[in-house]
């Protein structure tokens, strides 16, 4: 290596014709080996998955034109069932809002327990965090199905099932927001002799409020779209209408319902962008 470097050095000094053998390296001497390993691993996994699934490519290709046909049918909007679509959409929004509200309260409560800087009890934080990590690991539709078994068909199961996952999500994100409050601010309240709970409510919570609003807005969007899916497993709402009309080849009605779901989700997003701007 040293010999080569000497050669480069003398080469630049005298500027002779480029030597026939060596090219000037441009990359770092110590390269990160992780990225090539990661790419190779992904390639191997993709090949294995393809082999296992044994996809019938010919059949799939022959059905591709159907995608266009179905979308064409969906765009023949059929407004005859508007009252049904509308009431189910309102039901979906209500489920999303209610589950958000309950989860906000529970999330602040458990987030307080999970944050390390509020009560300064490491075991409490670890216990709360790991419990909710477990809840988060199970996807929402599974929770809703479980709740359907427990509470019966209908929106109650949807609210309860969404709450489990949303609370788990809020607990983690709120705990992070609470932990991002500077320790010095908490120290300043500590020296006044205030209790831990009072420090939380009077200092940490107001300081983290804008972050909480941001998380809630993001989650309302997710909850609404998840709610649309949940209707398909029987938790009521617009999803039920969509899956029913699709199965009955009533593409016009399904098209209207899907369009409305899109519009509502989009408006929620725009709304919270504005709310957040006001908050800062």
């Amino acid at each position: 290596m040293n010999a080569e470097m000497v050669k480069y050095a003398s080469g630049t000094a005298a500027r002779p014709a480029r030597s026939e053998r060596t090219k000037i390296p441009v990359k770092c001497r110590r390269r990160n080996r992780f990225i090539p390993a990661f790419l190779a691993g992904t390639a191997v996994l993709s090949i294995l998955s393809l082999l296992y699934l044994d996809i019938d490519w010919a059949k799939m290709a022959s059905r591709v034109p159907d995608i266009g046909l179905v979308f064409w049918d969906l765009f023949h909007l059929d407004f005859s069932n508007m009252d049904l679509i509308f009431s189910s959409l309102v039901e979906t929004i209500s489920i999303a809002v209610l589950s958000l509200l309950y989860s906000l309260i529970l999330g602040i409560l458990f987030g307080m327990l999970a944050a390390r800087n509020i009560f300064r009890l490491p075991w409490l934080s670890v216990l709360t965090q790991s419990f909710f990590t477990f809840l988060r690991a199970v996807p929402t539709p599974v929770w809703v199905l479980l709740m359907l078994v427990c509470l019966g068909m209908g929106p109650e199961a949807g609210v309860a099932g969404l709450c489990v996952h949303t609370t788990a999500f809020f607990t983690k994100s709120f705990a992070q927001s609470f932990e991002s409050i500077p320790d010095e601010t908490i120290e300043a309240l500590e020296v006044t002799g205030a209790s831990r709970l009072s420090i939380f409510v009077n200092a940490v919570l107001p300081a983290a409020l804008s972050q909480i609003v941001a998380w809630a807005g993001m989650r309302l969007e997710t909850n609404f779209s998840e709610c649309a899916i949940l209707g398909m497993v029987g938790a009521g709402g617009v999803g039920y209408v969509i899956s029913n009309s699709l199965q009955g080849y009533d593409y016009g009605t399904a098209g209207v319902a899907i369009l409305l779901v899109f519009l509502v989700a989009y408006s929620i997003e725009r709304l919270f962008v504005r709310v957040k701007k006001k908050f800062y």
């Binding site: 010095e184 309240l189 006044t192 709970l197 107001p206 804008s210």
Partner: protein
């Protein structure tokens, strides 16, 4: 007269092996205005935070108003803490709240149960908070967000919050280190006048030797965790200053290079 604060052979060493305090002893009487000076890492901050047990000590005893601080836990500790106000270099306000709300935080230690948790302050407390803000020239900002204020104004809110506690002792951790010279003077004048008026003892950590000499009734010089000087400002001669900072007085005036030299020596 019983001293408000008594350090009895207090020592503190951190897990990383740094001995921040080595057998420190002193007493503080009512109405004293004490500056603690010394290079970075000499144990000034540790000394201040040992008083209200923000940092637990390893040896000796801190007596605050006749009670041993290190023996206190839970409610008793909180009741002891509210006798000691504290002011910070970075103000440490809750910037999303109003100025008045920040001032009223000083009362939280006196409010039990749900009132304290939800910050339901009494009308008398609110009036007192507004009066204090008026005294500090901030009455027009009472309902502004604390984030709207300038540095000097934020520190005045910090003072108001500490005075709201009706403390017997006020601790100031580098109160003017983040301020411009004119704001710094305002803050030092206010600290002096407000504590004298209310007969509150005041301990100020300072980097500025000239400020310490001008305002204090007494100066404590710390070096490597030990008290090397404890006396009136006029007794502080050049030889003592050199012992505290490990460098001559002239060097201190040019941007404090002496501090940098003292640091590695202390850590070693």
């Amino acid at each position: 007269m019983e001293p408000i604060l008594r350090f009895d052979n207090v020592s503190k060493h951190y897990p990383n092996g740094v001995h921040a305090l080595k057998g420190v002893s002193f007493e503080v009487a009512e109405g004293e205005f004490i500056s603690v000076i010394g290079p970075s890492g000499s144990g000034k901050s540790t000394l201040l935070r040992a008083i209200n047990r923000l940092i637990p000590i390893n040896g000796g005893t801190v007596w605050l108003d006749g009670q041993a601080v290190s023996a206190q836990r839970g409610t008793a500790l909180r009741q002891l803490r509210r006798k000691v106000g504290m002011i910070f270099q970075n103000y440490n306000l809750v910037y999303s709240l109003s100025v008045l709300q920040n001032v009223l935080h000083g009362r939280l230690g006196y409010m039990g149960g749900l009132k304290g948790v939800f910050g339901l302050y009494s009308e008398e407390d609110k009036q007192e908070g507004l009066d204090l803000l008026k005294e500090l020239g901030l009455e027009e900002f009472a309902y502004n967000r604390a984030s709207d204020l300038s540095g000097g104004q934020k520190q005045r809110v910090g003072i108001a919050r500490a005075i709201m506690q009706q403390p017997k002792l006020l601790l100031c951790d580098e109160p003017i280190a983040s301020l411009d010279p004119s704001s710094a003077k305002t803050i030092m004048d206010l600290l002096k006048s407000m504590t004298q008026k209310r007969n509150i003892a005041c301990i100020v950590n300072l980097h500025q030797l000239d400020v310490a000499l001008k305002y204090s009734t007494r100066i404590i010089g710390l070096s490597k965790g030990e008290i090397v000087f404890d006396g009136r400002p006029e007794e502080l001669d050049d030889a003592t200053i050199e012992r505290i900072y490990g460098t001559s007085r002239e060097n201190l005036m040019i941007g404090g290079h002496g501090n940098d030299q003292a640091d590695p020596a202390h850590c070693a």
